[in-house]
């Protein structure tokens, strides 16, 4: 049941090459870039804003608006991460690690160019791969269940431990994040935990105000406190945006690994682009050639994060369109958009409305092309943000954080959450606790907890059963190996050296003996 690319193009292109669809795609791209780049507004938000507009459009027009916004929104998150150290979306958290140091060094333009091009690479290659193999992949992914989701999240948690320069502080951040994740109605029993009677907390702490508080407001308050003297950034070099050939060559192994990791993790429902980026960055930090320099502003870091998160967007669409199973909040909205147009996702859609399927893949492809064009064109404008004096920029970004926190649920309650976590984010910076492990713990906590407990119900309490399925066993073992890999590598090296020594000694002795003879 593998669909030919040629057939797809033949069916889809005439539908997509339509003035109104192309115009909507441009609008979607710009909205996605804007929303993604703004602290506090994410792709989910872009979808929520746009979807009511699509209710009266044709399916092609609707997806022409939504898919480019999704692709551009995921890339757009990188812009805030690079320039201000404030990731616009969860998926861009890992981009702060190398993107921001690079921007500070004066290479913000190059950082944007890198993330733009590699987001494109991730998006396009996963899209092509998945357009061709969608049904196969989807039927494989549906066999994955609770235990695999648990293993993926544990893999992500493992990354926390080698992200932070100080192991103890990194782990503390992660543990606090896990604890924050338990606020709200427990997913398995419905028991309220840490809600103090607030209905607003029953669904848990809202992600956006927590993340924007810790990353956005906390960072701003910290910078204001440090003094808004000019020159926090070196003067920007505007020369080159497109990646240098030498960097492309150097990053090739990273690119391939990130593509595989991002696509693979993206296909697993319930994980999505954020965990893909975390896993890919973590893997590079462990096995990449430049693992020691990761976090200081090397291209590999940006490539790992951005390739993987956009590869995740393509693969998240597949379970949705082939079997009607949404992997994350954004694909859930896309599923709603299909249903609205009386299109039922699933094999029937492939059999009867291949034109729709084809146009969806082509529009996703188009979205990736468009954000590269707009991203590269806009890079100079984005970089100009850094020329704004800090004392003007910081209050404006603070106000944007407030509106971002407010916008998701239009709730004043979330503004209070924002302020509380802003202060927390400010204080943890004062004592050298990094924000990323905390947020990663917060993102991964519910997945780890609910799937562990759910898994134990389905296996009647057997932990061993978590190792009985190939994918979860592989991921759990890989987590262990990566956790202990510096030690293992040292052991292996020592062992290797030992063998070498013995062998040379043996050789020599043989040689000597033979020499003697």
């Amino acid at each position: 049941m593998i669909v030919g690319l040629g057939e797809m193009l033949e069916l889809g292109l005439p539908l997509v090459l339509d003035g109104s669809v192309l115009l909507l795609a441009v609008i979607g791209t710009i909205t996605g870039l804007f929303v993604g780049a703004m602290p506090g507004l994410s792709s989910v938000m872009a979808m929520a804003i746009l979807i009511p507009l699509t209710y009266r459009l044709t399916p092609q027009q609707a997806f022409g608006l939504l898919l480019p916004a999704y692709a551009a929104g995921t890339f757009g998150g990188a812009i805030g991460a690079l320039l201000l150290n404030i990731p616009g979306t969860g998926a861009a958290i890992m981009t702060t690690y190398d993107g921001h140091p690079m921007a500070k060094r004066g290479d913000a333009g190059y950082a944007i160019g890198l993330s733009c091009v590699y987001s494109f690479v991730g998006g396009i290659i996963s899209a092509i791969f998945l357009a061709v193999f969608a049904p196969v992949v989807a039927y494989w992914a549906i066999r994955l269940g609770t235990r695999e989701y648990f293993a993926v999240a544990v893999f992500g948690l493992g990354v926390i431990s080698y992200l932070s320069p100080s192991l103890i502080k990194g782990l503390i951040g992660g543990a606090v994040g896990l604890l924050l994740a338990t606020v709200g109605m427990d997913a398995i029993t419905g028991v309220s935990r840490f809600t103090f009677g607030y209905a607003e907390l029953a669904g848990g702490l809202e992600f956006v105000p927590v993340m924007i508080g810790i990353f956005g407001l906390g960072e701003i308050m910290y910078n204001i406190d440090k003094g808004t003297r000019e020159g926090a950034y070196l003067p920007q070099r505007f020369g080159r945006m497109l990646p240098r050939l030498s960097d492309v060559k150097r990053c090739l192994p990273t690119t391939i690994r990130s593509l595989v990791v991002g696509t693979f993790i993206g296909v697993i429902p319930a994980s999505g682009p954020t965990i893909g980026a975390v896993a890919s960055y973590g893997l590079e930090k462990r096995i990449g050639k430049r693992r020691a320099e990761m976090g200081t502003g090397v291209p590999e870091g940006i490539v790992a994060a951005e390739t993987a998160n956009n590869a995740g967007t393509g693969s998240a669409i597949v379970p949705m369109i082939t079997l009607g199973i949404p992997g994350d909040a954004v694909t859930a909205v896309l599923l709603g958009a299909l249903m609205l147009h009386n299109l039922r996702p699933g094999p029937a859609l492939f059999a009867q409305r291949l034109d729709v399927v084809a146009s969806i893949f082509i529009l996703f492809f188009l979205g990736n092309v468009l954000f590269v064009i707009f991203g590269l064109l806009g890079a100079r404008v984005f970089v100009r943000v850094l020329k704004t004096p800090q004392r003007v920029l910081l209050p404006i970004v603070a106000a944007l954080c407030f509106i971002g926190a407010y916008a998701t649920r239009r709730s004043v309650f979330d503004i209070h959450i924002l302020v509380i976590f802003g202060i927390v984010g400010f204080l943890i910076r004062k004592i050298g606790v990094a924000p990323a492990p905390l947020i990663l713990g917060f993102i991964l906590g519910p997945i780890v907890e609910s799937n562990l407990r759910r898994g134990l119900i389905t296996t009647d309490g057997s932990i061993a059963a978590f190792f009985a399925r190939p994918v979860s066993a592989f991921l759990l073992l890989l987590t262990l190996v990566l956790l202990f890999s510096p030690g293992l590598i040292r052991l292996a090296r020592a062992g290797f050296a030992e063998v070498q020594r013995r062998r040379t000694r043996g050789h020599r002795s043989i040689h000597n003996e033979s020499g003697r003879e």
């Binding site: 606090v176 896990l178 004096p389 004392r391 404006i396 400010f426 910076r429």
Partner: protein, 147 residues
Amino acid sequence: MRAIVNSFTVTGTAVLILTALVAAYLRRIPFAPLRAGLGPAFFPTVTVTMLGVLGVASLVTGIACSRRQTSVNDVEPVTPRSFVTVLLVILYAVGIRHAGFLIPTGAFLFVSMVALGVPVRRAVLITVLTSTAIYVVFGLMFRMRLF
């Protein structure tokens, strides 16, 4: 005494206080599951135990550090500026609660820019421009109620 203050001891103390508070609350969460598997208190208990251990570890690290190198304090100082910043942010939130989004935003922008040393005239100009942009984008385009 001063020598013992460093980022690890401060982190450790803060974490241990948090641990104690959470542990006290934890007694309110039932430990038994609904039917099978682990109950709702299991995961918070594990996390808070981890936190407690890490808090102690951090404290021990900090004390060990302070013994080895005398008077190293790597906690960045909390300046009067910090308090002003925190206060401004809180006032902004309170303002939004009572007066909607747009007016407190303008006030916050203006006051914080002036406090940071932007000339008043420029601050007014930037405040008006930013507020208008927010109104156009969020109020008109995204249909959010800002008052």
